[in-house]
Amino acid sequence: MASALALNDPSSERRSFTARAMALFAIAMLLVGVLVARLIQLQIIDYDTYRTRSDENRIQVQPLAPPRGLIYDRNGVLLAENRPVSSLALVAERVQDLDGLLTELRALVDIDEADLANYEKRLKRKRRPYEAVTLREALSEAEVARLAVNRFRLPGVEVRTELKRHYPFGSVMAHAVGSVRRITEEDLQGFDAHESSNYSATEFIGRRGVERFYERSLHGEVGYQRVEINAHGRIRQVLDIEPPKSGRDITLNLDSRLQIAATAALGERRGAIVALEPKTGAVLALVSNPGYDPNLFVTGISADQYQAMVTSLDTPMFNRAVNGQYAPGSTFKPVVGLAGLANHVVTWEEEINDQGWFKLPHQDRIYRDWSWRPGNSGGQGTVNLHRAIYRSANVFFYDLASRLTIAQLGSFARQFGIGEQIAVDVEAASRGLMPDPIWKQGVKGEVWYPGDNVNLGIGQGDLLVTPLQLAIMTSVIANRGRVVRPRMLKLGADEQPPFEYDPPRPLPDVIGPTPDDWERMVDAMEDVVHRGNKGYGQNGTAWAYIGMDDIPYRIAGKSGTAQVVEIKQGEEYDEELLDEYTRKHAWFIAFAPADDPRIALSVLVENGGGGSAVAAPVAREVLDYYLLPQLDLAVRQ
């Protein structure tokens, strides 16, 4: 600094520069040393960590969902299949202008506000960068084609195709076959360790009907593949693969054509039909009307649609055939009659004088026949058991039931599956209710009155059955006392049954009635349909509705009309005053041909009114559909 005013000395300045340059070079070398130290740390010391991390980055073990087993009907018709369904997904990172892209996409495919809302929701979930997020599910083939053509100008748009469940019969088979739905958080929490891994790639699970009962067999075993992926999650190559084991195909006893015919016979009416093959217990048709479209649960259902289904007064999601519990009404009378014969409190010859009403000794309460008129006029005259069946005479059964103990009646009826669940593989079938004193004390807190017996005599009171149970009861009568458990699954002779198929031991035949009793009861039930042209008060109850034309086979049937609301003493039943949902339920049970039954069924029309007028024609239609071609064939041969 002393030489501030002096001119620069070139040589000293050069020396100073050299010193500085060397010093700075030394610092640079120090910094290079820092870099080298860092590189040694990364590439030598922590090499294993980073090597592993890079492999974990690129190598992924992916579970592979097994294709779900198919479901066939008895004739090999597909009831549930797997179809490729394409969905539209966006890679958000590649989409710069979502609104612009949506405008372009909307020219090609339908995208509504609900789709957009779902997309936004899915976008917020945790995902890797460049993972595509679904925008629209279930694209039509035309939409897929339009997207393929325009793909080049739609960056970030992906079309993915997966196998999804499809039910070709839609709502017709919904309650018979059941349905799958998307696996929920609760499903996942309920899984054990094996299930958790087995379902790791699976999106759908059987939740109703056959789909649920045979879930384990239908699902199959998960597979795995080790793949090399890039940062966007795209598979670059498959390193090795352990293929999934596809689910087992299942063949059902259902006859899809009969199912369709039965559904058509019910038409718009709420109700249920269950048809069994009495000899084998095969479930031929299981209809609950209205149905629902099970495909909606696969391809997506809006909250509004779902809400509408759940809150509808017609309860389309409710399986009336196996879960609907109703009073059987007069269809129960054959069992009461057989119970009386078995317990020797009645004979075929015994007659009563039916004046249209019944009273227990020392009581004022009047139990009425359907022929009762104000002022206690009416009645059906001289009635024996046979006539009491074909005329459906209440008074005879009031009297008969009052002479049976509830223990006798209950244990006898239980042999027919009343109050029991005896089906082999019907998912979540209800037991109904065969009331007894213990039940009454426990649930109602009341003692059993003789009047309770009287009500049971005509299938009313607290007695509840499902259409499936009535079909079982009908086939026991058709079999003349032999009890066969109903089954959905049709098993070939040397076919290995699925895991779930574990039939309990066979049930014993009904004890008590003689072979003659069974035949005479069947005769009486044939008269319900076929006894006609005998004049007023002498014809079978259903004859006027289904028996008048020439039927080439013999039907044994019984009508029933179940009260929904109790009619108070002294009041009249006035159809007009009751609104639709409190009107009586119409029942009809039948089997045919009466001598060699091939089909036994129960028909329920909710709030339909009279059983013979409303339910019997439905039953006739189903029987005709099933039997006429078979009989035709037999005649021609």
Partner: protein, 379 residues
């Protein structure tokens, strides 16, 4: 030094060494060889990083050739030319920087480019990487050295004005690099070490205050450095993937074209700022060490040439350019290996891109212009 020269016989019996021929066009053979080695290595790595895309590769080849041309031209210019035009270049650079702020093109949130639509587009801040140190060297040229306090203040102001204009674009990375280039001149001029020490203490004391002047994304980058796992799919992604790429390369690397991190697109910016991770993954520690050795040799040779410059201006300017080159190398590798926050600094002569190659090779041309023409007083 001349033992490696090969000798060629020309028609007429004269022998002329290639070295002599290069020196006639003011090119230093050793520096040229080193630069070509790095460029060649870089092209191999780039070819791998772009997944063997011949088009992109050819593009880079053209840019490098252009940049080499610029280098040769810069080497031909007379040292006096640079001295005369230094203030003018600096002023033009300043005007352009102001224009950027007034009418620049905005991309990725900052206004860095000037554009004549359809013709060309460039970053004036790139000019300042050379013009700023040149101006400081010009200022010190006929002043007593080591610099007095007043001169240091003025020199710092010369640096601070363009650096500040660049930082408000905002482009903190380039701003700091311009400042470093200018500051390198001040240190080479002989700034007292005790002043440097004092200044560093002041900066350390002010650091907490500076934190509040940073933009959110800049703070995020610094925080990410310390804990990349805090946001593994967002801000931390780049650092996690680049350290994974380097670390998984090990000693020998996975082999050319075999890097999974880069070819499966886990590594971001693998052709540009993060290309050293491709080197680390495919060629391992050996590959990076080789490249670092080449860089160190270039810096050593650059400093030797600077020391040979005929005057103070040349020495300071060329020395500062050499040191700046080192800073680029260091900042880039430190950033990719997770030692420094992510700033946009390409790896010199290796990263894909034309602008940086032209600026760098132009500066090496200038270093040769000063150092490779032999001794002589031209003033």
């Amino acid at each position: 030094m001349s033992n490696y020269d090969f000798v060629r016989t020309l028609p007429g019996g004269r022998t002329v060494s290639a070295r002599d021929q290069l020196q006639r066009v003011h090119l230093d053979p050793l520096l040229l060889l080193l630069l070509l080695a790095v460029i060649g290595f870089g092209l191999v790595v780039l070819y791998s990083a772009v997944d063997q895309d011949a088009g992109v590769f050819a593009n880079q080849l053209i840019r490098i050739s252009l940049a080499l041309g610029v280098m040769v031209i810069a080497a031909q210019l007379d040292p006096g030319f640079y001295l005369r035009w230094a203030p003018f270049a600096y002023l033009v650079g300043l005007v352009l920087l102001v224009l950027v702020l007034l009418m620049g093109v905005t991309a990725k949130g900052s206004q860095r480019w000037l554009e004549i639509p359809g013709v060309f587009r460039f970053q004036p801040s790139e000019v300042m990487k050379i013009a700023a140190p040149m101006m400081v060297a010009w200022y010190f040229h006929d002043r007593p050295l080591p610099p007095r306090f007043k001169d240091v203040v003025i020199a710092l102001a010369i640096v601070a004005i363009p650096a500040g204009l660049i930082i408000v674009q905002p482009d903190l990375g380039t701003g700091i690099l311009v400042a470093v280039a200018g500051f390198a001149v001040v240190i080479l001029a002989g700034l007292y070490w005790r002043w440097i020490g004092f200044a560093m203490l002041m900066v350390a004391a002010a650091a907490p205050g500076l934190w509040y002047t940073l933009q959110d994304y800049q703070r995020q980058r610094i925080l990410t450095l310390f804990d990349p796992q805090s946001d593994p799919l967002g801000a931390g992604w780049n650092i996690i993937q680049s350290t994974t790429a380097i670390g998984s390369g090990g000693l020998q690397g996975k082999g050319l074209f075999q890097g999974t991190q880069s070819h499966l697109e886990f590594l971001p910016e693998s052709q540009t700022d993060f290309i050293i991770a491709v080197v680390g993954e495919e060629f391992g520690l050996i590959g990076i060490a080789l490249l670092l050795t080449l860089y160190v040799c270039i810096i050593a040779r650059g400093l030797v040439l600077s020391a040979r410059a005929p005057n103070t201006f040349g020495r300071l300017f060329a020395g500062a350019l050499t040191l700046t080159f080192f800073v680029y190398v260091f900042v880039n590798i430190a950033m990719v290996s997770g030692l420094l926050p992510v700033v946009g600094v390409p790896l010199p002569l290796v990263s894909y891109g034309g602008t940086s190659a032209i600026t760098l090779l132009a500066s090496f041309g200038m270093i040769m212009a000063f150092g490779a023409r032999g001794q002589g007083n031209f003033r």
